[in-house]
């Protein structure tokens, strides 16, 4: 039992299970799944689907935090990507070239390209110019939304182009397509980190940047790449979000997303001090956050309760992860050892 709880994923998983169980108890239909029109429906699917954008961004954030970094511009980058995608589609349609799938791929390419550039910009500021991550990414957090509004002319851009809806609302093999995006990114990242030496380098840089540099690890190349990926993940999230609501709101899309992402990362057991990270933990963290929101909406509580509940959850889970608190709790459970004297 103690060995089980020593596993780093044990506490986040327990928290998620507890939340779902409580829901199942108070709302018997909550955990039910049903097949309609060949698609799987139910609250569990809904939670996973809604958590997808956050899960993507959080995975990018995990890697950045693993090297002692931070990216608070992800919300703004999401907005930029969403706006660029919508703008591309609208302009291609206006130009009369909305044939077949060209606008779809053009929108995806443009959005992801811009998002990757944003990430690279952050990475170069941090790794090459030596700026503090929080300050470096603050620039784009503030300027990014402005940029997005300049592109959209301050309007909410509505997307009428049907193929684009597949990204955020489509189904594949009975499951929402967004889940496949998350799964693909997760597996690709896992392979990249574990099968190449990237995982070792990331942990070495996070554990001791000076030592990693001295051992010949090229942190100057690796760190910008990680920030670039973080931007890219925000871009993917932007595609999911804008496709899901068939519009791009430069002002509100991805609002406070950076905080939820940091929260998901820390709920998953990644050390904010760098070096120790868990992508699987991050996914669980994102699910916990979404489950909480869904719970509050489904119980009919006013949505404002969501923020307070989130805060409470954070306190509990983070306390459980704090070594000193855990030791105190465990020593309460254990019978006091008799002194050998």
């Amino acid at each position: 039992m103690r060995r089980l709880f020593a596993h780093p994923l044990a506490w986040p998983l327990a928290a998620l299970a507890l939340l779902l169980l409580a829901n199942g108890l108070f709302n018997p239909g909550f955990l039910a799944l049903q097949v309609r029109d060949g698609h799987l429906y139910g609250n569990l699917i809904d939670i996973a689907n809604r958590a997808a954008p956050l899960a993507l961004v959080s995975m990018g954030m995990t890697l950045v935090i693993a090297v002692r970094g931070l990216d608070i511009s992800v919300g703004a980058v999401l907005a930029i990507a969403a706006t660029v995608a919508a703008w591309t589609i609208t302009h291609l349609e206006a130009g009369g070239s909305a044939h077949g799938l060209l606008p779809l791929f053009a929108a995806i390419g443009a959005a992801l390209g811009i998002a990757a550039l944003c990430g690279l910009w952050n990475g170069l500021l941090v790794a090459r110019a030596g700026m503090q991550p929080i300050v470096a990414t603050l620039i784009l957090m503030v300027a990014g939304r402005g940029l997005a509004q300049l592109i959209s002319d301050g309007q909410i851009l509505t997307i009428y182009y049907a193929p684009y809806a597949f990204i955020g609302r489509g189904f594949l093999l009975g499951l929402p397509f967004a889940l496949f995006v998350v799964a693909f990114v997760f597996v690709a990242l896992k392979l990249l980190l574990d099968r190449t030496a990237l995982g070792l380098f990331v942990r070495a840089i996070g554990d001791n940047p000076a030592a990693a540099r001295l051992a010949g690890v090229r942190a100057g190349a690796i760190m910008p790449a990680l920030y670039l990926f973080c931007g890219l993940s925000a871009g993917m999230a932007g595609l999911l979000v804008s496709s899901n609501v068939a519009s791009a709101d430069a002002n509100n899309a991805g609002q406070l997303l950076e905080l939820d992402a940091i929260l998901a990362v820390s709920l998953g057991g990644t050390a904010l001090t760098g070096g120790r990270f868990s992508l699987a933990g991050t996914l669980i963290g994102a699910l916990i956050i979404q489950t909480l929101s869904t719970t509050i909406y489904s119980t009919g509580l006013p949505p404002q309760v969501n923020l307070v509940a989130k805060a409470l959850l954070v306190v509990v889970v983070l306390l459980l992860q704090a070594p000193r608190f855990r030791q105190q709790m465990l020593s309460l459970l254990r019978p006091r050892p008799r002194s050998p004297a």
Binding site: A197, L200, V217
Partner: protein, 501 residues
């Protein structure tokens, strides 16, 4: 000699299944300097932690002035009269000397309750004057050299009227002159009746300053001796548990012919405010010594050779060709290796396993795409654990949990795994026990005999003369000369001190 101040009896402490301390006694008398000796892992740190309330003993008791005390925190120990100064000064470098000295017990203005800054400075000056220290108390602590900071830390410890002062490896980062000043201060405190527990790895320092010696071995007491009656050989035997037969030393046939080509050569290599241009060449199979005081430019030269700092004059030539070293990765690609002076901050990645730390440099030189298979990493780790005698049972143990000597060996293993042309070692034996030190020095000689070029940096003259062929000497950021193989420590000292011969 006056009476006993502190008497620890039968202290026991275990961590998990390992017994760190087993029925250890310690007697400190007023007005004595008492050395605590032992190899890494002998239990010195644990004993100090028990005395200072960082850990609580499983059994045994601590008597201070005849009364049993059981400090549960460092603050309680300090109130009881036991103060500690650690190797790394843990004061606040951004505060002034005076603020550091009075932190936690600032004198207040009676009418306002605000801190009385004038009195803070007066108190600080008085405290320092008692120890015959004359420095500007208004300046930031961080603006002073480590030696002064350490003395401020001692003054602070004395300010809370300590009966017992524990100095945990205070001399590790001091040069010889500063060590002398510290000893003067320690003797002054001894006269005032303070009992000083002095922890160090340096045998000569023990004999220079201490009255009595307690030796620990594998967590158990190995005897208490009067310094005057214990020979150095006897002390080493007590620490190691067996007769140390012969010291590692270079043999005459280890001298490399002077006309062999240089493997690595610095030509006019320098950097503003760090090192005046230096010429230096290292041959295959040679252990080249680099001597000089702390701050003489030894470390700076190694950093320039390794691309850790950018040189702004001169060039580095490897196998006769000029190379551009922009970052350590470039140097590693050229077959250079550097074990840095500061093992903790620049050497090991403490949270990573022994296996990962050993594989890191080799992996870095192969690039991120060509991952070393895990089986290969494990084989590497096991091989070097055996070759270097690293004491660890599980190669997945985080390196941060190993003792200093074993950490240093892991670092050495990391570079040996890359089979470097030139191995640079900056103070590789600092803070390491005698047995591990001998093993590391023997390994260096073995590597040189196999044809590796070694640059050995050390402040310890004995080490330099025992191990090295030629010795280059730096003073005030300049290379002042080279001594041929077979020079003795007197000659090295003379050149370091700038005597004209």
């Amino acid at each position: 000699m006056s009476g006993v101040v502190l008497h620890a009896q039968g202290l026991c402490k275990r961590f998990g299944t390992t017994v760190a301390l087993d029925r250890v006694d310690l007697v400190l008398r007023a007005g004595e300097i008492h050395a605590l000796m032992g190899q890494n892992g002998a239990g010195k740190s644990t004993l100090i932690k028990l005395l200072t309330g960082v850990e609580t003993p499983d059994a045994g008791r601590i008597m201070l002035d005849g009364r049993a005390i059981a400090p549960a925190t460092p603050v309680e120990a300090q109130r009881a009269g036991i103060s500690t100064v650690y190797q790394e000064v843990n004061l606040c470098p951004n505060l002034s000397v005076a603020e550091n000295l009075c932190a936690g017990r600032y004198p207040r203005q009676r009418w306002s309750g605000l801190i009385d800054h004038a009195r803070v400075q007066d108190d600080a000056r008085r405290l320092l004057a008692e120890l015959h220290l004359q420095i500007d108390v208004a300046k930031a602590l961080g603006s002073y050299p480590v030696a002064i900071q350490q003395m401020v830390a001692i003054a602070r410890a004395m300010g809370v009227s300590a009966r017992v002062l524990i100095l945990d490896e205070p001399t590790s980062s001091l040069d010889q002159h500063e060590v002398g000043e510290l000893f003067t201060l320690m003797r002054r405190l001894r006269q005032r009746g303070v009992a000083i527990l002095f922890v160090t790895h340096f045998l000569d320092q023990v004999y220079a300053v201490s009255d009595r010696i307690t030796v620990l071995r594998n967590g158990a007491p190995a005897g208490e001796f009067s310094t005057a009656e214990l020979s150095q050989a006897g002390l080493v035997t007590a620490m190691v548990g067996r007769e140390v037969t012969s010291a590692v030393a270079r043999e005459p046939h280890d001298v490399v012919p002077g006309d062999a080509p240089f493997v690595v050569e610095a030509r006019g290599l320098g950097r503003r405010r760090a090192l005046f241009p230096v010429d230096l060449g290292i041959r295959a199979g040679e252990v080249l010594g680099l001597g000089g005081l702390l701050g003489s430019g030894r470390t700076e030269l190694a950093r320039l050779l390794f691309g850790l700092d950018r040189a702004d004059s001169g060039e580095v030539r490897i196998a006769g060709e000029a190379v551009d070293l922009r970052q350590p990765a470039d140097a590693v690609a050229q077959g250079l290796a550097l074990c840095p002076e500061d093992r903790k901050t620049e050497g090991i990645a403490g949270g990573l396993s022994v296996r990962e730390n050993i594989a890191l440099a080799l992996q870095a030189s192969r690039g991120w795409w060509h991952a070393l298979p895990r089986s290969r990493q494990q084989a590497l780790a096991r091989e070097f654990i055996a070759v270097l005698g690293i004491k660890v049972t599980d190669i997945e143990t985080p390196v941060g949990k190993l003792s200093g000597g074993n950490q240093q060996k892991v670092l050495l293993a990391r570079w040996l795994a890359t089979a470097p042309r030139l191995l640079m070692l900056d103070e590789p034996t600092r803070g390491i026990d005698i047995a591990a030190r001998q093993e590391i020095m023997a390994e260096i000689l073995r590597l040189a005999r196999q044809g590796m070029a070694v640059l050995f940096i050390s402040a310890e003259l004995e080490e330099l003369t025992h191990l090295c062929g030629r010795i280059a000497v730096l003073r005030d950021r300049r290379k002042v000369g080279e001594l041929p193989a077979g020079s003795d420590s007197r000659q090295v000292l003379d050149m370091i001190a700038g005597a004209t011969s």
